[in-house]
Every structure is written in C-alpha cells, then in structure tokens.
Symmetry: C2
Subunit: 208 residues, 2 copies
DNA sequence: CGCTTCCTCCTACCTGGGTAGGAGACGGAA
DNA sequence: TTCCGTCTCCTACCCAGGTAGGAGGAAGCG
C-alpha cells in the first residue's frame, strides 16, 4: 500500500485527488495539507511514502516545504503537481529534491501512474516538462564544447591566462613577451570569439 | 498501425525485437538494418513511423544515421535503444534529434511502451537516463552566480551582472542606476572580495 | 624563389575601468 | 534624537584596456 500525503492550497484539487486515490486498491491518502508549514509537520508525523506537492501556496511554498521534508526524511518521494511548468518552478523544485514533476492538466491515469512510479523509485514527468528538460540538458552540452577552431597556439596561451584573471602586464611577464604583443593577441581573440570585453572573453574561454 | 524500422548490428537483438513487435496487434516491423548506411536508405524508402536505433554500429554509426534520416524526413520518430547510457552517447543522440533513449536492459514491456510513446509524439526515457538528464539540467542551473557572505543586496546585484560579463554601462542600464553608482559598488566589491581586477571579480562570483 | 602565416613589437589614440573623496537621502537601531 | 549603514550620485584623476595601422623576422609551402 502506498501511503500518500496531499499538499495543495485548493480544496477542490485535494478532494479530486483524494477521490482518485481512494478508488485505487494500492494507494492510500494518509493526510492533507493546504500550506507548506502543515505539510512539513504532517510529513514528519505520518511518514508518507509519497508527497504530492503543489508549489504556489500561501505562507511556506512548495519548494521550501520540499527541502524541509527531505532534510528530515531523505527517503521521502516528493512528486510536484502544479499548474505551471516553467523554468522558474521546475528547476528550483528539482534542486530542492523533488523526484518528479507533473502538470495539473495531465489525465488522471497519469497522476496515479506518477504516484506509483514515484513510490517505486522512478521519476515521473509530464511530457511537456520532459521536453523542456531534454532541451536544457542538450543546450548545456552544446555550450560546453568550445573547440575554438582557428586560434593560433600563442592566442590560446594568452586566452588561458585571461581566463585565469591575469592582467595584460601579468600575461606579458608570464609569457616573456611585450605588453603590446599581448594586446595584439587579445584584440585578435576578441574578434575571433565575438567578445566585446575581457570578462566575456574569459567566460568564453571557460565555456560559460 | 505503427510502422517500425529496426536498426542494430546484432542479429539476435533484431530477431528478439521483431518477435516482440510482431506479437503486438498495433506494431508492424517494416524493415531491418544492421548498419547506419542501410538504415538511412531504408528509412527513405520505407518511411517508417518509428526507427529503433542502436548507436554503436560498424561503418556509419547511429548518431550520424539519425541526423541523416531527420534531415530527409524531420517527422520521423527515432528511438535510441542501446547498451550504454553514458553522456557521450546520450547527448549526441539527443542533439542529433532522437526523441527517446532506452537501455537494452529495459523490460520488454517498456520497449513496446516506448515505441508506442514515440509514435504518439512522446519522449520515452529509461529511468536511469532520465535521472542523468535531470541531474544535468539542475547542474546547468546551479552554476549561475552564487551568493556571497557580507555583501549588501545591491552589491550582490551588481556582482551577478559582472559575472555575466556586462560592462559598467550595461549594468547601470539593467539596474536603472547611474554609472558612477555602479563604479562605487564595484570598488567596494573589489576590496570586499580581494579581487584586483574585474575578471577576477567575475571568477570569484562564479566560484572559480 | 616568392607567398603566406604567425609572432613579435612599435606609435598613437581613445574609452572604459578603477580610485579618492565627498555628499544628500533614507530607514533602522541605539 | 542621534548615529550608522546603505544607496545613490558627483567631480576629478589616472591608468589599464582596447583599437588602428604598420613593420620586421622566422618558418612553412608552392
């Protein structure tokens, strides 16, 4: 039997979820909360397997509640169920330790499936959210590999030192060349990398 | 009926998949290929709904084949099915346009489910892969500027923008304050953080 | 041999970054 | 109330950073 705690500030949503869950032979709703603070204390007392958590709530929000519950009992599976799947909700929730993220417009079967998956150690995500997740992961990847084709050996040397935060003078000393030479290389680096100031150049070199 | 093209260099795997699919009323295997080149030409001729694609193959690999098939017919759903779920396989595959990524140790039911999901426009992922995906997305988030002790709120604002590579003028515009104010904050930031130039300040903010 | 690329360095110039020191306004704490 | 910290902005100054353009030497290549 999967013990579930429902957290949502809207009474109707909780009622709907409870009805849905109670109709299942393997899922049992052991408690409800309409705000983050109650959610934390209830979770501590009831020790549910899965917490179905809304994010936007009065007082303590869902993100904070998630962190606190997990700080207390790290094994708890917290499944976020919310209306908004944008980045500002998704990533804080995942960072806080939520194991899944479903949108409220998901069909009931997906919700129940999500609860079961969460309890089983899996990570249920709505398709829409999943797409966003993949996109970000791919983006993050395509940012890192900066082969920086077309840089000469010397330019690469200078770029590395710029990335370390050295001044032109320091770079000149380090490489045993004149400061004007350093400037020459840097100007060329800027145009080649499309940076218009030194910090951006440094960030570029670091793949950021 | 979902028309499927199987691509894998191991005959046994193909045989197993074919048997599995043929037992389903809604899935039809329309062709097989044991290398990337054949996969591309077969896909062009058979126009399958879903391509189940292995990555490690002799000759043209699965990533390249995926790119080529999608270049020809962008609507094709390509579901990667491979033994290895590490980053070096996962991200290139997603970048190439694969819609899902399953591991070969997945239970048969998950495979069939994956094919159906892929055909329906969803993105099936093995749990293990999904975990990795979430991790990376979260990581990519968390390497944004980190808060530093002892800084005033406004200084923190300025520091974050310095860390992004903005110039003083850009920062002033962004925060709707004067450029001299920005300079004041930056001077204070430099002394507080012990940086003696702007790049080091930016690196400090990024925790480097 | 010319040709090209790269590395080196130069002058001259301008702008942005950074320092020094001061000042007015505001809000909270003593 | 006074005092302190923060945020705001100022002037004035200096210098590092960045641009423009040119030039000589070394190495590789057709």
């Amino acid at each position: 039997m999967i013990r579930v705690l429902l957290v949502d500030d809207q009474h109707l949503i909780r009622a709907g979820l409870r009805m849905l869950c109670d109709a299942q032979p393997d899922i049992e709703v052991v408690g409800e909360a309409d705000n983050g603070r109650d959610a934390v204390s209830l979770a501590a007392r009831l020790i549910p397997d899965v917490v179905v958590m809304d994010l936007r709530m009065p007082g303590v929000d869902g993100i904070t509640a998630t962190s606190r519950i997990l700080a207390d009992r790290p094994g708890t599976r917290i499944l976020v169920l919310t209306t908004f799947g944008d980045d500002d909700h998704l990533y804080p929730a995942l960072t806080a330790g939520a194991c899944g993220f479903l949108l409220k417009d998901a069909p009931p079967a997906d919700l129940l499936d999500g609860v079961r998956k969460a309890a089983a150690g899996d990570s249920p995500f709505s398709q829409e959210v999943l797409r966003r997740l993949v996109q970000r992961a791919v983006d993050a990847r395509s940012d890192t590999p900066r082969p920086v084709e077309g840089l000469t050996a010397r330019e690469q040397d200078v770029l590395n030192l710029v990335a370390e935060g050295l001044s032109n003078t320091e770079i000149a000393e380090q490489l045993h060349i004149g400061i004007t030479t350093v400037k020459t290389h840097i100007t060329s680096l800027m145009t080649k990398t499309g940076s218009d100031n030194r910090v951006r150049l440094a960030l570029f070199a670091r793949g950021a």
